[in-house]
Symmetry: C2
Subunit: 418 residues, 2 copies
């Protein structure tokens, strides 16, 4: 008989319940694949009574030390979220000799180095497949499947709430506000959706992917992130007319001397895989030297999909797999906003009678040597798709337009995915 | 300093050279991720002189025993292909205490059980990521990423040659024969393309995926496989008119009492990921209980993409990862052709003046309770898309049509992907 492994789980919300349910349902498969029976010995959560209704057999308490101090528990699962008390729970579990599985992207994106260093020091392992893109095994693909590759670029649709809202806005001409309300009604957006719609959650996840791919530090910086609150139904309409779909893309790219990092609404050509990622689904595209372009798609949130990732980590730990802790590298290059690169751009100028001044705008673009690929003029909107041009020249042209038209003009700009 | 691992590689064609090249180029990354320097100590191939021109530093010989009998070599890489002498090479390497990495789908699909049992007996590991879908880490996703899931269905586009030919036929109205010739000219099809275009290569790969997902035996049976030689430009045209794309799909599906298994040209709705897998690319869609639908896409062949998979296996072995050998299960259910299931179907009846007899055909379908979803009648072709119906009723209806129209009629039938 293989040894039984005892697990302590901190947190019993959607993900924790998913882990409990799937482990129970698929116990036999999991035991066969991991070589061990896995048992959730202790669950720590706030509402003990409610948890008991769901998991009547487990030992349910509200003290994290019940896991940390139990020598029989060899793996601590952290699915509480947030920084406090998740961080100290994980650090103390490591110090007490436990391996850790966490789904906590906010924590890793800000304190990943400290946690992985502590794990390395104590010869413990911290696994975190569930922290990015839910059940898609993207951490595994990046660290193991593509282990022999130099990574050039990672592009992700990493937040189900944003993708659900944007997908709705492409299906019918609703405003962002109405699409958000509908998403909240259906449970795809939280009562306070700030964290999702402002791009912070996406930024956390990209910070983790970028650390794995490029060794950049676990130092999430919200200034590099733009969410979807400014995407209007008008922009969606024009994007579609030009053959694009607007997605909140997270992009980390290796340049000569730095890693560029951006989270922002981006026009994606409609004949690509990324454009077909609809509703609350997630996806990641990786460009690397040996493999070329690869693409991974699946459910990025929800109890059971996320549980699938947590349990995959538990199986890996049970098998005794060794993956070195993904510390950011001493010589890691700085994260930079995407600016030195050449992109195609979408620009919509909105002002009364702007249509009569198309010639003036075209002249300005010409002055800055920016070639126009497509143009559309209607209803006080003047819309352009440019050819690739440097960010500097493009900003200068926008400045000139602003100065030429004064305060009456509204300028809406988005990048176009290469 | 971590211990250096010595590798012996049998075979130095496209894949072998890819492994050599990528290992050399990315040595530092690979050492960091695996914890060991990996060195190809010995290469065994037929044309030693030609190999020396490519890899001037390596020890190149034409005797497989140079690997098998070398106690310093701990990992044998088999990238020769074919059954003889690959099988005995792998078995002898295992018996001499070596772990094995192989890209050989034909061998595993027919002798996988024998090889994995031998590995288990000698406490060795046989890794084979490169055997299915080239560089896409699909074996890893299925065995590890989805380790906690019950798999319901696997659908794959697993042969680059077939997909290249079919993609060409959808881009312009060329015949299968002309598309094949063009593919041969461009290096996407071999001089003797039988193995690819008859679906055998796809069948081998599906046999491996099915064994991993469902525990079915490694006993490839060519009778369950249909290739693409009968796909005509006329069928491509009608498929497109109805909103579909024809792909050679490999499908393994868990039913109540058995596993259905099929490789055949299939109509895929054009708004799906699978329909967008073009040129020589591969993809796999997996349906499972916890994660739901996930999708994986990338290069399925070629030197460096396949090398990416071989090297990922080497990194896993170097890390000391343990995955139990995927023996087929004692109680494994039999593979069955897909027949008990309900599918939508495409039927094209071709005969002089068939268009005038649409009423008769509709009547036959009605007799067998088969509802028609779409219908098109032109140029001696009468084309139907049915609603879902049982395979039995559908075959009976086809028999009746055959009897009613006699030998003058040609009947072309394909399944439609759910």
């Amino acid at each position: 008989m293989p040894e039984k492994l005892y697990i302590g789980m901190a947190g019993f919300g959607t993900v924790g319940r998913g882990v409990y349910t799937v482990l129970k349902r698929n116990a036999e498969i999991i035991e066969r694949r991991s070589g061990h029976a896995l048992e959730i010995k202790t669950i720590v959560c706030r509402d003990i009574k409610k948890a008991h209704d769901f998991a009547n057999e487990a030992n349910i308490v509200n003290d994290l030390n019940a896991i940390i101090d139990d020598p029989e528990i060899s793996i601590a699962v952290e699915v509480m979220g947030g920084i406090k008390p998740a961080k100290s729970f994980i650090l103390n579990a490591i110090r007490n000799g436990k391996d850790v599985v966490t789904a906590n992207k906010a924590l890793l994106a800000t304190h990943g180095d400290e946690i992985f260093r502590e794990a390395q020091k104590h010869n413990r392992r911290v696994y975190f497949e569930a922290s990015v893109a839910g059940g898609i095994p993207i951490i595994k693909a990046l660290r193991e499947g593509l282990a022999a590759n130099q990574i050039f670029e990672i592009t992700g649709i990493l937040n189900g709430t944003c993708n659900y809202i944007l997908s709705s806005m492409h299906q019918s001409p609703v405003s962002f506000e109405d699409a958000l309300k509908e998403a909240q009604k259906l449970g795809y957006a939280e009562a306070d959706p700030t964290f999702d719609i402002e791009g912070l959650d996406t930024g956390h996840k990209l910070t983790i992917l970028s650390a794995l791919a490029f060794g950049t530090p676990y130092q999430f910086d919200s200034s590099r992130v733009c969410g979807i609150t400014s995407v209007s139904s008008t922009d969606v309409k024009y994007a579609q007319k030009f053959g694009f779909v607007i997605k909140l893309l997270a992009i980390a790219r290796k340049n000569k001397d730095n890693i560029s990092f951006s989270v922002s609404p981006t026009l994606v050509p409609e004949n690509t895989f990324l454009a077909h990622v609809n509703a609350a689904m997630n996806a990641v595209e990786i460009k690397s030297d040996a493999l070329g372009t690869s693409f991974y798609y699946g459910a990025g949130a929800g109890g059971e999909p996320t549980a699938s990732a947590v349990l995959a980590d538990l199986v890996d730990l049970a098998r005794g797999n060794q993956v070195s802790m993904p510390l950011s590298e001493a010589n890691s290059v700085a994260l930079m906003p995407i600016d030195a690169v050449n992109d195609k751009n979408y620009i919509r100028l909105h002002a009364p009678l702007i249509n009569e001044k198309a010639g003036l705008v075209e002249q300005i673009f010409k002055q800055f040597d920016i070639r126009i690929d497509k143009e559309m003029s209607e209803e006080n909107n003047l819309v352009f798709i440019t050819h690739e041009c440097s960010e500097n020249r493009f900003s200068s042209a926008l400045d000139r337009i602003r100065r030429s038209f004064g305060e009456t003009i509204a300028i809406h700009v988005m990048k176009i995915k290469k």
